[in-house]
């Protein structure tokens, strides 16, 4: 029998690591995706984990997953269905079986497939009999017992030994896809610098997993995914929340201002606060407030003193911040709000993704309370849009809400490190020191008022939430003045449109259907459209990053196509917003509210159907 392994070259692979939420699947997935990126593949990842830190062990509710999509060509999504599923227990199989391709590979830890766990997972009998495995290549590996065997003499307790079984699984998959182990080993050395025993244990288990896969040749071949053809440059892996935090830092540096973040921990936005709290080296001041309201209030105060002031949150927190947002609208102070959306309403689905806070961001305040709303669309472009949100807030003296989503916040991808010299200048309208100051005197073109900060002599002034007379800055209840000021605040936001790029179209100029999206759905929409265009369909994509105000050419672009299909992870909030702004066109909708990203397959079906209508 030929013992040599066949090497098969493939374009792209999706792997899903899944296990109990204490099994270390997020780490396993991260190490694998980082290794692939370092190897030169394009990568997209998607962590999918429960809100409970340790849900009951062995249950479907406690399954934590991490999906990695890597390939030789450009990767826009973490992938719908996986080529390989690693299931560390029956519950992981139960939760993820539906996501395995019909000809996929499933690797299970046979040691975990015992009666107790099978019942806990909700199977009536052996899941390997219950699930339709036709065509699936099942690799039964005694991962737990081999981990135990590997470390029997190392001098660790049983619990610590079993904790490294995830590295055995990583070893198996690393062999299958011809991944080097160096990155993971480097990671152990750094992470366990003070615990040499753990470095040794994890390294040993990882190598043994790798050699096990090689030895048993459970798979008769291993796969090679060649490096992607990627633009030259220096790269790093980045997730959406880090990119957001760094974009804000970059904006502060460009503007010559200090960054202040007032925030309260909330899933899935917390890591923005964590990252900026660690960035004191760049002079950032973070304030972990007593609640969401104090988070934005401290930022509001910092803005008054001339800082780039930011607050980060998710839907429930945005609700609590609305009154202070209104105050920032009224006092015309710059303030950036990062809203990392999650499933709602109420506590909803804290760890899942959704796009249903759009109306809250646009209108969730008392009175006529216009502000700028933007949305990032990939993990790495959170950097660019955070930068732009800060630029617009500072230059237009307005609050800006930047919408990201759980899917972007935790998802990661390789990112070509940008050259900050190519980013636009940021010039806040500080009041000239030698001229008299009137707080509500406005630039005739932009309607932006000047910014005078405490410490500046002769510019002392009082701001407040009451309506004011633009001439004196004093309080005024005069009916005509109120109407004038409401309209001036509205028009000020409308004029931001002059500073944002026009809406671009991707795909066919003569498309039969214009697909419309906003925010984190971009990668899926693009992949679906590219795939269908290869089949010969005529399609175009208009993806919005600027929502209020809309790009100036929006109406013209919408009118250029016969049919419009608005795709969103909600019940149609952006579609309705477009109906309000451009009532002259009809809009079709594709909506999902699963707490999950779209699948490319669902999108393709929807697009095909809409073409037929």
């Amino acid at each position: 029998m030929d013992k040599h392994t066949k090497v098969i070259e493939i374009e792209e692979v999706v792997i899903r690591f899944s296990g109990d939420s204490g099994d270390g699947m997020q780490l396993t997935g991260t190490l694998f995706s980082d290794t692939s990126a370092l190897f030169g593949n394009d990568v997209a990842t998607f962590p999918d984990y429960p809100a409970e830190i340790r849900a009951p062990q062995g249950t479907v509710g406690g399954v934590s997953g991490f999906q990695v999509h890597f390939g030789h060509s450009q990767i826009n999504t973490p992938g719908d269905y996986c080529d390989v599923l690693v299931a560390m227990n029956p519950a992981a199989l139960k939760a993820n079986f539906r996501w395995v391709k019909p000809d996929g590979i499933i690797i299970i830890d046979t040691d975990a497939f015992v009666e107790k766990n099978i019942i806990k997972a909700g199977y009536k009998e052996d899941p390997l009999k219950e699930e339709p495995l036709n065509g699936i290549n099942l690799i039964k590996a005694p991962i737990s017992s081999m981990t135990r065997e590997s470390l029997k003499d190392i001098g660790l307790d049983q619990k610590s030994i079993l904790r490294s079984k995830n590295m055995f699984a990583l070893g198996i998959v690393s062999w299958m896809f011809d991944r080097p182990l160096e990155h993971a080993i480097k990671f152990f050395n750094k992470k366990f610098a003070n615990k040499p025993l753990l470095i040794e244990a994890n390294t040993k288990v990882l190598r043994n997993g790798y050699h096990y896969a090689e030895t048993i040749k459970a798979i008769a071949f291993n796969y090679k995914v060649r490096p992607a053809e990627i633009t030259k440059g220096t790269y790093r892996i980045i997730n959406g929340n880090t990119a957001t935090a760094w974009g804000l830092l970059a904006a502060a540096e460009k503007a010559g201002l200090k960054l202040f973040l007032g925030s309260y921990p909330i899933t899935p936005a917390t890591s923005i606060l964590e990252e900026l709290a660690a960035r004191k080296d760049l002079g950032v001041k973070t304030f972990q407030a007593e609640d969401e309201i104090a988070g934005i209030c401290t930022s509001f105060g910092a803005s008054f003193t001339g800082h780039l002031a930011v607050t980060s949150t998710s839907g429930p927190g945005l609700a609590l911040k609305s009154e202070t947002l209104g105050l920032a609208v009224m006092t015309e102070l710059p303030l950036v709000v990062i809203n990392v959306q999650r499933g709602g309403p109420s506590t909803g689905l804290p760890t899942k993704t959704e796009q249903a806070d759009l109306m809250q961001a646009l209108y969730g305040r008392n009175g006529e309370s216009p502000l700028v709303v933007m949305a990032a669309s990939t993990p790495s472009n959170c950097f660019d849009y955070a930068y732009m949100a800060a630029k617009i807030a500072l230059e237009h003296m307005t609050p800006v809400i930047l919408m990201t989503e759980g899917f972007l916040a935790n998802g990661s991808e390789p990112w070509k490190i940008p050259d900050l010299d190519t980013y636009p200048e940021i010039k806040p309208p500080f009041a000239p020191k030698d001229q008299p100051y009137s707080p509500y005197e406005k630039d005739p073109d932009t309607l932006v008022r000047k910014w005078a900060v405490p410490g500046t002599p002769d510019h002392e002034h009082r701001l407040g939430g009451l309506e004011k007379d633009p001439a004196t800055g004093g309080v005024s209840y005069t009916p005509e003045i109120h109407e004038f000021m409401v309209k001036a605040r509205e028009e000020k936001i409308n004029r931001v449109a002059k500073d944002i790029p026009p809406l671009a179209i991707e795909g066919d100029e003569d498309a039969d259907l214009l697909i419309i999206g906003w925010g984190a759905t971009y990668g899926h929409l693009l992949t679906a459209i590219d795939s269908l265009r290869k089949e010969g369909l005529k399609l175009a994509l208009a993806h919005f990053n600027y929502i209020r105000p809309l790009p100036e050419n929006s109406g013209e672009i919408l009118g250029r196509f016969k049919k419009r299909l608005v795709c969103e992870n909600n019940l149609g909030q952006f579609a309705n917003y477009l109906r309000m702004n451009f009532p002259e066109y009809p809009y079709h909708q594709f909506n999902k509210i699963l707490g999950l990203p779209f699948t490319v397959e669902d999108l393709k079906d929807a697009i095909r159907k809409n073409l037929e209508v």
């Binding site: 790093r236 202040f260 004191k280 760049l282 509001f300 405490p454 002599p457 510019h459 701001l463």
Partner: protein, 339 residues
Amino acid sequence: MQEVTQLKPEDFKSDQIVRWCPGCGDHAVLSAVLKALPQIGYKHEDVVFISGIGCSSRFPYYVNTYGIHSIHGRAAAIASGVKVANPNLSVWVITGDGDALAIGGNHFIHLVRRDVDLNVILFNNRIYGLTKGQYSPTSEIGTVTKTSPFGTIERPFKPGGIAIGANGSFFARTIDSMPKLSTEIFIEASKHNGASIVEVLQNCVIFNDRTWADITDRQFRDDRVIVLKHGEPMIFGKERDKGLILKNSQISVVKLGENGITEKDLLVHDAQTEYAGLHLSLANMEYPTHPVALGVIRSYNLPTHYDQALTDQVREVQQKSKIKNMKDLLHSGATWEVK
């Protein structure tokens, strides 16, 4: 802090017409603040007044400094942001019993806990005046108001109890009609490093007139309040013939000369001690069993306060870190070249 001379109270007056009701206690507080400001050593442009919502929260409009008339209950949080962002400013919070202790209660206790170097003037008139007469969290049980037509059944807060109970470092109390004492206290509050809470017993002439009259009426005020001074024995009374002693772990009123009691037997006020037990008892004293304590009841300087500690920490990390700018950060950690 800069050296400032020549400034007078009028220099801190704004051009706005003061709109409080005639006879309102707020006028006297404003005037006491205007007298204090030239003495605290800050220039106009380095002083900020932040208020919430309520009658007293109109205050920032009437001082010629930087200011924000913000939203209900949030002045403490907004002012924390101002001070933390720029510790060189003298930042004052103007708030009331509803603003600080009802809607803004959470921010109030956390301001005290963090010990941000702010000066809080809490106007306590035991009523909601701006909404025309509803009971507040400091209204006494049984108070009849528009929302308690049969008398309140809620137990009131005592601002001093909350501030000292939350481990506050500074608490003082004054009366609107004692402007000289108020000015002295505001200057002390400004000097204190940390969150300074000053409660002003203030009269609402329209909706809660004479709410503090039992202790503030001139004919018997001196017998019903005690003005505490650090390092001095606790003596009070029109004739300076009464004092406070500690008996069975409780503060008791004694008459000098009776039962052989002399000044030496009296408690001596130590506002600067860390131990808060006696400060709490003093702050909670009530007429008629005790005189109501005025003056600086507690002024304990912690080694550092929040805004200072944060500034120090930022500087320390900046000195140690290899990351000096965005470019350093972008290229830190794991990166790779694509050629």
